[in-house]
Symmetry: C2
Amino acid sequence: VTTVCLPDDRWRQLLVELPVGVTAVTWDGTGAAPDGLRDVEFLVPPYGSGAFDATQLAGMPKLQVIQLLSAGAEPWLSVRPPGVTLCNARGVHGASTAELAVAGMSSVLRELPAMYAAQREGRWAPRDTDALVEKRVLVLGAGDIGSRIATAVVAFGAQATTVARTARDGVHSMTELPALLPEHDVVAVAVPHTDETHHLVDAAFLAALPDGALVVNVARGAIVDTAALLAELTAGRLHAFLDVTDPEPLPPDHPLWDAPNLLLTPHVGGGTREWQRRGHQLVRDQLVRHVRGDALQNVVAR
Amino acid sequence: VTTVCLPDDRWRQLLVELPVGVTAVTWDGTGAAPDGLRDVEFLVPPYGSGAFDATQLAGMPKLQVIQLLSAGAEPWLSVRPPGVTLCNARGVHGASTAELAVAGMSSVLRELPAMYAAQREGRWAPRDTDALVEKRVLVLGAGDIGSRIATAVVAFGAQATTVARTARDGVHSMTELPALLPEHDVVAVAVPHTDETHHLVDAAFLAALPDGALVVNVARGAIVDTAALLAELTAGRLHAFLDVTDPEPLPPDHPLWDAPNLLLTPHVGGGTREWQRRGHQLVRDQLVRHVRGDALQNVVAR
């Protein structure tokens, strides 16, 4: 019998499609640990939570797999017990996160919030605005999200340049950023948050962008140095669309709320009504692989 | 000597790159006719104007080509003198119009106006919303705009079905609409306004869509029966994003302003700061073809 720990009872429905021999406990990491936790081989923590702490994980001595429901896995890398495989949810949120990144770009460039405000006032006030056409868009990250962003902006007449940790065909290396940044009008951040990408978008990165450039972050807030971005927004030199912030949630008195030249959404890139069904499918497929002894997908660390 | 009629003096700059033997007059169709109008072979009317009337065109007895700056050519079809070639500006506005169509879709599905309002109030209020992922999008029109819309929504995880006047590989015929409409969550209108497409989106069309479907129009207002759409919006059964309306501009007291479940922009699909440069390039290329006797592009009627 394989024991899986699921976030809550709604997730039990996925078990009806599982092979026999799988049993479930539910725990979201808060409150008392459930009976049966010591038998858990396969842990699915709730979406949007931080990592469990070492004491909680020590309560699962048989743990073999941690299957996350997010694309980001960073908080788990340091607490993962030796030999436990860590998998992320690549592909579950990618399309929606890319959609929000491009919708945010277009909202800024096409001045959509002002146009929707004019609608509420009953004012027909057309004007020429900026747009993605002929923009040079630098996409940081060549994964699921980044490649979808690149495809869409090219469909809208922009040029896309992709940058990732290691160069490969059609993908530049992060080491080329100093030469690439001055040549781009839009930068879209779609890389994981790691030690290497923490504050990657700092004062020097931002200073290298041309006047009027647009910074988009749909990855993790701490990839951007918030103070450095705030200075550029306040100076009126750069624009930004942020779906993620540092800190998060953004406290009511944080200066980002009143920053000019900024559009902000509350970390909803992957937060669509569709994702839970897709998350169920991923967990079910991974559990089947685990029970059968097949190779897991989306392995971040093992 | 070939005489061209340009909308205004700003357009004269394109003549510096033309072959010798081209001379220009400028007229936007208002006020007195300029000297030299009787010599005009090649007419470029201003973007966003209606068609010149028959009397104005009779003042150009040598007219051979009308080169529009818009994708839509409908108002000119009935006034075009016999034997005059009518060309549109396909490709000049297509990418930007497709961008606005998809930005409008995402704005509705992702509830972006409400999120931007929360930002202004300093409220961090994440919630799961709808999204393009796994949506079935019906694109009316297989031209430049429609194909770009299809590419982008597929990048965001949707399925795209394309419909055009005549069926071909990967494109359904308009005659299949009754069967297709109930199977789609989003309809994007990107066809020319012709006698055939006038009020194509009428009460029966809308009634065939499933509850909660989203109607997007970035083409011409009169393709949609405004009263029929208003009824569906007011009933709360359908949502819409309109960049074009009928009438246009929308009068201050028009009921569309207060319709629920509607986002509206003031016909700015192609209205970007970039388009004039692209328009210059198109006109220059077409003038060179005309002077050399080469075949013109973007011919709508001859």
